[in-house]
Amino acid sequence: MERVSNLSYKNQRILIILLFSLVPVVLLLTFSYLPVIKMFQYSFTSWDGFSKNMEYVGFDNYKTIFTRPEYFAVFKVSLYYFFATFVQMGLALYFATILSFNVRLKNWFKGILFFPTLLNGVAIGFIFLFFFKPEGTLNTLLDLAGLGAWQQKWLLNPHLINISLAFASVWRYMGMNFIIFLGAISSIGSDIYEASEIDGANRWHQFRHIILPSIKRILQLNLILAVSGAIGVFEIPYVMTGGSNGSSTFVIQTVDVAFKYSKLGLASAMAVVLLGIVIIVTILQRVLIKEEK
């Protein structure tokens, strides 16, 4: 490095900017932007992923997606996860609010509520397979509580399967929202609370007029993530049901179409549609946030 220090600081600066950004930029282009371009290209072909030449088929793949109900039906499954996100954020906000005030065993509760977020996705899938089994945890608990009549085949009943899976998803991600909200709430100065108490505000007033406005941006950010999260659901249903019984999500379907049935062109078109939806939602969200200002 002796040679470097002989250069003038101006030249050093150019050199170091180039050197330090080289690897990240190459990785960024190769694994973020190139795939997007390739994905658009594949989406207009009937490529199977193996053959040497790609045949361009125009908008055929897109026609297939929008006209064949079996391809579009998976979005209905996303709705379950989308609604579940609101439950998840509501719970997270509730727990974050009460745990930011004085509570006994505060750190224990924080740790326990947050821990599930750190767990391995496959492990969580198995844990909830065990939980929802006909003679599993949930049914045993119901029996114990005298609610034996409520016992269900949670993962075999097509009306319940997605609700059960979405519940597992809430269990998994609630802690993440919780810790983010907790961080945001704790950055509010305690003098504001004190001042409001002098003015006679109760906890609800404080929540409504102090906490909620100051975490609004994070709440909105989480909403955006909720949409793309709901469409991008993969691990829990894949590990638990393999997408059977009407629980297949868009990503499971894309992976199946691409790698099981070798229809890479069609799978790419599906991915383009998915990306389009995420972009539209993000833009909508941006516009709505701006209008509020």
Binding site: V103, G111, L113, F114, L118, G121, F126, F234, V255, V272
Partner: protein, 277 residues
């Protein structure tokens, strides 16, 4: 009247907290119970029944050996170590030049990284697969490593935030002593960034350890299995031996639990820093 209302609210508060804690713990605890039961015991008792012998680790041995979990841990550790070392270096380098130098294209660079995070990774998997394939990286450890290394705006953000709190006069006084920018980065900035590095290591480490999608798709070869994919293999062949599956689940969870207890303080900071703003 006031006190009655107050204590009712307080009771409700603790009731919900206890309920929340139970909801978080019970699914894991029953798996732990089952992992300590013998086959016949498992068949004849409910999930909430305590195991007869708390030291019956035979399921763990079986899961560890049959599932070849040691191999899974080895591969995971290799991938985690290389990815984290690389991500820390590249992330801190990017953050250093972006935070300290104003140059043409620095805004463009920043937005290029930001925009990339808005593209959900799952959408481009099919095309990424072809790229990995054409680089001859399919079924090698390099496939996930390169993908974990690339485009990590969160690490860059954490480092940049932290760099703002390191006074630039430190850089300047080092320059008066004739230090090169490289020396400043390597000798001054990097050591001072260590709290941020711990944060990045935890956030990335947790993500990589728990990731299933990437190794499942890009390293199906069984000699390259990681903890996630090793665990996934228990599905199917062990359908009737839930006590063994439960032991395998616990084997995958225990490292997380230990890390969580040891690093609790940093973990909270890390996730708050990594996710906000």
């Amino acid at each position: 009247m006031h006190t009655i209302k107050y204590s009712a609210a307080s009771f409700f508060k603790y009731l919900t907290l206890v309920f929340g804690a139970l909801a978080a713990l019970i699914p894991i605890i029953v798996v732990f119970f089952a992992s300590l039961k013998t086959n016949t015991e498992y068949a004849n008792t409910g999930p909430l029944t305590l195991p007869e012998n708390w030291l019956n680790f035979s399921n763990y041995t079986k899961a560890f050996v049959d599932g070849n979990m040691l191999l899974g841990f080895m591969n995971t550790i290799i991938i985690v170590l290389i990815s984290i070392a690389g991500a820390t270096l590249t992330g801190s380098m990017m953050a250093y030049i972006l935070a300290r130098f104003k140059f043409k294209g620095s805004k463009l660079l920043m937005s290029a990284f930001l925009l990339a995070t808005l593209i959900p990774g799952v959408t481009t998997q099919v095309a990424t697969f072809q790229i990995i394939n054409s680089l001859d990286l399919f079924n090698t450890r390099w496939a996930p490593i390169l993908m974990y290394l690339g485009t990590d705006i969160i690490a860059v953000y954490i480092f940049m935030q932290f760099l703002d709190s390191i006074s630039e006069s430190l850089d300047e006084s080092a320059m008066l002593d004739g230090a090169s920018y490289w020396t400043i980065y390597w000798r001054i900035i990097l050591p001072l960034l260590s709290p941020a590095i711990v944060t990045v290591i935890i956030v990335k480490g947790v993500n990589i350890y728990n990731d299933f999608y990437t190794p499942f798709l890009y390293m199906p070869k069984s000699s390259l299995q990681v903890v996630s994919t090793a665990l996934f293999k228990f599905k199917g062949p062990y359908g009737s031996q839930w006590e063994v599956i439960c032991a395998a689940i616990m084997i995958a969870i225990i490292p997380t639990l230990i890390a969580f207890i040891a690093l609790q303080k940093y973990i909270y900071n890390g996730f708050a820093q990594g996710s906000v703003k």
